[in-house]
């Protein structure tokens, strides 16, 4: 049911996940464009709510990586905004959450994986960044590598598993118990969608911040040792 190919354009076949993602992207782009078209110094209620959401995202990033909040806000903020909407799409009858597809969550996890390295190298340089894999001992390098791989896999599977299982559970209950019985599960779906979006975004932020601050932490430890 997830990742079914609906449209084929030449050799490229587009899955439901991609089409739903595009719809979500279009909705977000249109909504963002409309809501930010007439921003004023003295905000309306809608603008105040929008500013509150963006400020909350910024504050969360500042709490983890205070020196790189502006740099990380677009990437991490986009994860939070997109995942909340993408997770909730499954509540719409006939639609499935893109995050219930392992291909999508793996793509997001891979993005986080590369982003953490990209921001770390960008901030500290390649040599300095790679040094932290050899600390506190070069013997720990395999474990660092295994950690990078497993946390990326865990990131993708966690989101996929939670969202997919919620939709599966609701579907099974619908088949077994009948109409309206899955409503409590759907309520749980809302909470779970928000929680999973928050967890994914927060973990992505922590991984990226870890890449940014690893060498700085190593330098500080060396200074303390001296």
């Amino acid at each position: 049911m997830f990742g079914e190919h609906w449209i084929a354009i030449g050799p490229v076949s587009l899955s439901e996940t991609v089409l739903t993602t595009w719809c979500v992207m279009a909705i977000l782009a249109i909504a963002a464009s409309i809501m930010t078209r007439r921003l004023k110094i003295h905000p309306s209620t809608g603008q105040a709510a929008l500013e509150a959401i963006v400020s909350m995202i910024e504050d969360a990033i500042v709490a983890v990586a205070p020196d790189h909040a502006k740099l990380l806000l677009p990437f991490v903020g986009t994860f939070w905004v997109f995942l909340v909407i993408a997770n909730l799409v499954g509540l719409v009858p006939g639609l499935h959450s893109p995050t219930g597809d392992l291909s999508a969550t793996a793509a997001f996890a891979i993005l986080v994986f590369f982003a953490s390295h990209w921001f770390g190298i960008r901030d500290q340089g390649l040599a300095n960044y790679l040094k932290h894999y050899l600390t506190p001992s070069p013997l720990l390098l395999p474990f660092h590598i295994i950690s990078e791989i497993t946390r990326t896999v865990a990131l993708s599977v966690r989101l996929f598993g939670n969202i997919m299982s919620l939709e599966m559970a609701a579907l099974l209950i619908l088949f077994v118990a009948g109409f309206l019985v899955p409503v409590p599960i759907l309520m749980l779906h809302i909470i779970e969608a928000l929680v999973q979006a928050y967890i994914f975004g927060m973990l992505a932020l922590i991984y990226i911040a870890g890449g940014l601050q690893s060498q700085a932490l190593h330098s500080r430890n060396e200074e303390e040792d001296e």
Binding site: L28, M35, S103, A106, I110, L111, F160
Partner: protein, 245 residues
């Protein structure tokens, strides 16, 4: 749970596109307006602080100025008080001087009036004395009084110093006789004494005449020289000014 690489790649691309979209249409405008508001608030706070600082400075300046004014006022009041005191003292001194002048004038006028009164009283006293003496002497006049006066005169003539005697003698040199005026006709003895005294003093004979104006007494006329001792002349002497001193 299989991995579709097309979906995988497209989701990566989709997410990166969404990052760009949300950056340009959501995060950047919202963060921009928040930054503008924050800047506006900071500007307002800065303006408020500047206004507060300016107000504090103005307040301290005006307080300082008020203190200066108070000091200037107190100094001016003291100066004014000193000036008023000086003016008061000057006015008092002028008033005192005027009063002293007035007092001196009054005293002078009073003294003058007293002196005039004294003079008038003295003149009245003298006049009354003269009237009284004249009345008294008028009642006492007679040959005896005149004889006593004549003998007193003759006695005085005998005691004149030689220079006066010579001068009287020289004055009568060209005269034929020395005139003797009396109020009453002298007796023979008295005439003899007079003749001897005149001859001794002037070296000339005598001629006698009666003059009631003398009241009682004698007048010896020798040219420009006259020797008189009479009640009339004494009364005239009392009447004359300066006799009281």
């Amino acid at each position: 749970m299989e991995l579709d690489w097309t979906t995988f790649l497209l989701e990566i691309i989709n997410f990166l596109v969404l990052v760009w979209i949300l950056t340009h249409f959501l995060f950047r405008p919202v963060l921009g307006i928040i930054a503008q508001r924050r800047q506006s608030i900071e500007d307002t706070i800065a303006q408020t602080k500047a206004a507060q600082a300016e107000a504090d400075a103005l307040k301290s300046r005006y307080e300082s100025r008020l203190e200066d004014w108070e000091k200037e006022k107190s100094v001016a009041r003291e100066a004014q008080a000193r000036e008023l005191e000086a003016q008061r003292k000057a006015a008092l001194a002028a008033q005192q001087a005027a009063l002293d002048d007035e007092r001196r004038k009054s005293e002078s006028l009073a003294a003058h009036a007293v002196r005039k009164q004294k003079e008038a009283d003295l003149a009245d006293a003298i006049a009354q004395g003269v009237r009284f003496t004249g009345a008294l002497l008028g009642r006492l006049k007679g040959p005896e009084v005149e004889s006593a006066i004549i003998r007193m005169v003759l006695s005085d003539l005998e005691t004149l110093p030689p220079s006066r005697r010579d001068a009287l003698h020289d004055a009568a040199r060209e005269l034929d006789a020395v005139t003797i005026l009396t109020a009453f006709a002298p007796g023979n003895d008295l005439k003899t004494s007079i003749d001897h005294a005149v001859a001794d003093l002037f070296g000339k004979p005598t001629t006698y005449r009666i003059d009631d104006h003398l009241v009682a007494g004698i007048r010896i006329e020798s040219g420009a020289w006259q020797v008189e001792a009479s009640l009339a002349s004494e009364l005239e002497y009392f009447k004359s000014p300066g006799t009281s001193e």
